[in-house]
Assembly symmetry: D4
């Protein structure tokens, strides 16, 4: 499959026919292109992993199934797959470990929300942020989160992840002065409406300093938390 | 307007043509018939107040407008109207005050929820329950409710009233071992959907021991809280 | 897996890394911690059953699949699994049977609602309540429920379980003076919206003394019914 | 305003420019054209009343406001307006009263549903059906409707009108063998969703022999009930 | 499994423990008890078929899966199963065929709606009605339904079945003077919302004489159509 | 108020501080800028009318209230206001009338939909299209639309406007081979959901060649119909 | 299976018992009958393919599964199946290729929308339109679509296909003067509501000249785009 | 009205009976208590303004009506009211102006969104942030926003405000590397669902770095933007 680099007013992309790969992203935004694996056909997935690996020497994919992981590892045996977060990653073969900067606190209401939390955490770490995990601190046993308030307040930004009724976001918003990114999850049953109930709870929060991303969107939360974390540490989202 | 008493297998009602007044309610359930004033025509409202006053010497009406209050007070000058709860009441001319039994704690998230809280409180008091008011303890300033946990735990049953995202119910459910009746309110803006968002929050609560009544339904919460409070005090809902 | 006991202002929990087990629950609320098995990974489920068994000598799990039941019975052969209610339980090896107190009446509209009813019933019995089952008394054949009114009125609290249009709750609310906990079920077809239609019916009930829990939430209904039943029998939810 | 009669394969209508009046309706369907007054401009309303009066010597209008009633009575002083049903009618100046045939029973859950019930009743009577009114028999006091079962069973067809949770339709469906036309009303508060909750209840009814018309659509129910009533009495909807 | 016959004010049912079989239905309503097979456990299904067969010599079951059909035919080899309508029936071993009375016209918009139409048709025939099938006459090719208007007008009652946008009901309502029972189906794609879009179309119909049953509820339509058809033929729903 | 002309890669706009007026629109798209009057403050509305009049010698405003009409006519006495369509227009003082090209047929289901139809018609005429009005041809009296099929088929494009259940779009789609732009209206009652029910009907249409614009969006329909009409007449949307 | 040709006022269809095949379509509308394969039983599918092949020598089927493709290719080995668009086609055995006329530009936001885009493209090509594909130009990398504006403006009509938030339609509407047919897709996750979120975005578009078809309805978009494309090229939808 | 200061583990509030004023907020979060004026009774509003003025020498109120503005200005003549943003403010009588730090860019799609934008802008300025306003840059005229990309990229954080279909947020997200707070507005008509459509668009955005606050919640956006802006400038949200 032949690809071609297109340049539009200084911004470039790779024309692959079936897709336009945003190979210019990192330079432009400070964040490398990430592969959303879900629904991608095998053929396209391989093509994209190859192209990005060739360009950057590393690939970071989200929402990968176990089957997709096996597929890619057939080609890149060094690819690592994490079942909980469903992240399928080819890491750079650098000798030195990256210094993770700042501090993002990621809280979950229950253990069932872990799959979203780990997607957020690993995304933030991939983009260079230091992450503190505060899991299973839902409001039905309030003493659990109260015991962690000091840790939460050390963050530059907090990610609050909850399904069911999603009250965690409001409680955290009331306990910290840091911006809170709320992630509703599809965890729950009955009238949880696939996460819509938690989304509505969070959007209507009576606490200040809370904004919401899509249901189960751990990646989006990890991304935006990193933007804010970078601003807090260096005053900039990307290096000049 | 002529009315007629109908007796069905030991249960009676008053046939008024436009309505069948459940004058038998108190004997049957331990709770006297209450008038839902909203949408009632002037003519019917007067007729019903007269009929009940004649029967019991007292009337308790909910959702009364100021206009309706004036209308009834033109006939019964002793009628009392409370603007916040919109309760329009003719009290018994008894000399001795009623002993209020047990303890129902009524909590609100904000001051805007007071109209529902007072409907619940006055209803519970009318039916003979002692009420403790714990207002404006929403989760955005968690220390406010934490300062009142001891008071809340003295209740036989707790009524948790909140609009916006309605997280108060879950937090209270996590702080007390008593049954909680949650009342979503229409207070809020944006995506609060007239209280539906708070209702969904409460229905999906991760805490145990919470059940939900209709949006703004202070009366219903006060009624059911009284049923439980009576059970706790006397082991029975009504006297034999 | 190492765990650690954390103590926050007199309340404790067990830090398991992936979860914070509320081992303090029984002392604090009078109700032991219950395991919600759905969506739990095999590894975590085993860990939690082990931890709770070690602590209390018994475990009560809801929403367990048959596969999970087999998994746990591979480790605890004495575990009992009920296919209808999906409850997976390790009972205490006590010689004396527990005295069940009070009376909770559990009604269903149809036979298809049994899976919810049995979850409620077994939960209430686990927490020490006596349960009367009144099944298949839906309103399309009204004489069936009328034949059981006396039984219903012997309850301290009634649980009304119905799918389809959920009218049973209103009818029971009109027949008894006891508090009614209504449980909408996902049973039905067409525009039942996975139980949301029944939920709306019950929330909008014209009868007094009805509060609603989440769709199919038999556990929640059994829990709250027990709180009320204990209040009716002993005046307290938990022993001092 | 000039009008013109158009004939399409034996069916005619009156072309009025802004409207095509179905003056052929009665011959074709056995039911004369009825005016839906809501939202009609004054000018058009007058034009239509004039045209129909000229053609038939009588006009039957639904959803008329008091202002519209005054407008029409300024031109036709003999027009009669009923505030409850909002029907604005010019009757035929015939000497002999019409014989009302068959029997339609119209039930309401509460007194607040009367505005829909009277629209249904007067519509059915206008089209020649005999109507029995059974009002205020909601399920929260079940003995009220049980006392009227015999009356209900004398109907050829029953109209069940209810707001709030709309359980009345199911209960009636379970008590009678006659077809039931259910009318949800917008009466209620909180999560009644303008009548949508009652509509869903009725559509999901567990009882047989129930079909539903639009919220508050008393006219539609009265119309269809008449079709069925005529079939029961004469075996035909219209005379040959 | 032991069963017991219960008699409540002249109405009886069979107490089966897990269910209360309404064996009195036929005498009371003129329609024998019908089995809704969906979701029934094998054990209960067999028990119910046996009980009804023993009582009446015939059984009529709806929404039966192929597996259930095989199960029942293992016990009653004479049982007949129709894959389209999913009706599983044990017919009476009578020598004389039943005379089907009156005329119900059943129309569908497309061929994909046949599974609902055949459920309605076979139900109506089981209850003794004569049925005329007018299939695949959706409004996108209007000449198809116009060619059948005469057939439609010979009906006592019309059943209009459509998915997608459900416009068929309104068009039929405009073409006939007979009552129309509209059945929305789940057929469609995109924003059809599982049939809810078609339901809303039909409920909002601008034509008169239309009432709506639940999505895909062919049985309900066949039942009510029979009630009306019997009224048209004999003036009664059941024989005295 | 000072304004400034901004030029971006050959496209210009007028910077007015509170707004960026797209004065370049006509050259770019072949359609002059139109003013959406609703919600505009008096001050801004006047400023915009002045600016556009100065530039083009004419202004076309939609959704203008009567108050806004009076306001503008206080400054431009030649402004014309149409109450039905709510269009507020200052016409060019040209001597020669514009030749309207092609043919757009605009159909409505009822007379209550006229306010949308006239917005569409006047918009199309303003942009130079010839319009044929076919009003009040709803499907409840099908002979009305059948009598106009020939007129409809003379169109290059048809606009189908309907509230209630919106079946008109499907029927027209089945009667013509021309593209149909469907406009749901908010006309109706009960479960019409402010036009959402009609929108769903039209989006789910079983007929081909139908696309839908927003509820009550007559302007949008008139605009797109003109684009298609111009393509049909000249093969181009705008002149080169 | 015997079929019969029915002729209604010059329009014919083929009566197949289970279906009425619109064999007259091409003459009437300029578009041959197309088979919607989804949900069709094997038996009916074969019958329809045979009938159409016999009549026209070619068949075009949409939404065919791989299983259905194999089924048909067992009978017509020359049938071609495209996995992406799910189109199952028997082409005419003509020697000369068809000249594709005009120009339809089909844009997608992402690669996941290709299955809809190819259904639209192949449909348009089948009906004789020339198609330009502009894929993967979603708004999150705006330079990609800006690089293709010239191509887009060469279209007679643009099809904008997008899932997620569906913003592509508005952006294209702002960049071109040609009519835009917007197709929401079910691509996305979280609160995308199966495509309903994208549908709402497109229906509410602030840009002019956009109309919307059903979710994932590539066929409908290709059909209407062809109608407009033909008008632009020949001034007519079908040949006389 | 007597008030009392309560101190809970170092956090204080003012007990006013009807409310618990969070006078401790500024010290705790770096943001002074703000008054949400909507729905507050006159009596309470005055009491709160007095209390805060006494404490801090300044008050900042949002969602104030003109009537409320007059009420407060009767007591505090120096209070300033802005009609667009509905902010009612008593400023500190300090001699030196505050230095506004950092840079928040606030964009709106249209002029109708200004009321939300100004609430956000004034809130951010009150809390000490420098604000750049980029108004009326909706995507229907894309060149308007492209002309401001450089200004947008100078921000630390961007607030994107849009009604209708809300596509602006995605486009900005694709043009900048800074975090974007998206605010859906209730501006629009038809199927905008009071802003819910725009909310869904923004939540489903295909662009990275976007989080959403409640409909019309300018205050919430200004608050959170300030948190991030402070982090970018000083690395902290509040001073130590």
């Amino acid at each position: 499959m032949k690809t071609e680099e297109i340049n539009v007013s200084g911004k470039t992309y790779e024309e692959m026919g079936f897709a336009k790969l945003d190979t210019d992203r990192k330079r432009r935004t400070g964040f490398a292109e990430v592969v959303f694996c879900e629904r991608k056909s095998d053929e396209y997935l391989i093509e994209i992993y190859k192209k990005l690996y060739e360009k950057d020497g590393c690939v970071f994919g989200t929402r990968a199934s176990e089957t997709q992981a096996e597929l890619i590892r057939g080609i890149f045996p060094q690819a690592e797959y994490d079942k909980v977060s469903r992240i399928l990653q080819i890491k750079k073969e650098t000798s030195a470990p990256i210094d993770l900067i700042g501090n993002i606190v990621i809280c979950t209401a229950g253990t069932a929300d872990l799959f979203v939390a780990e997607e957020a955490a690993k995304t933030a770490e991939y983009f260079g942020s230091y992450v503190t995990r505060v899991y299973d601190v839902g409001v039905s046993g309030l003493h659990r989160i109260l015991s962690r308030v000091d840790d939460i307040n050390k963050a530059n930004v907090v990610v609050a992840i909850a399904g069911m009724e999603g009250a965690l976001a409001s409680v955290i918003g009331g306990l910290t002065d840091k911006p809170v990114i709320a992630v509703p999850t599809s965890v729950g049953y009955g009238a949880n409406l696939g996460g819509l109930s938690a989304l509505l709870t969070m959007i209507n929060s009576c606490a200040n300093g809370i904004a919401v991303v899509n249901i189960d969107n751990g990646y989006g939360a990890g991304y935006m938390a990193t933007q804010i974390n970078r601003l807090a540490v260096t005053g900039k989202v990307k290096e000049d």
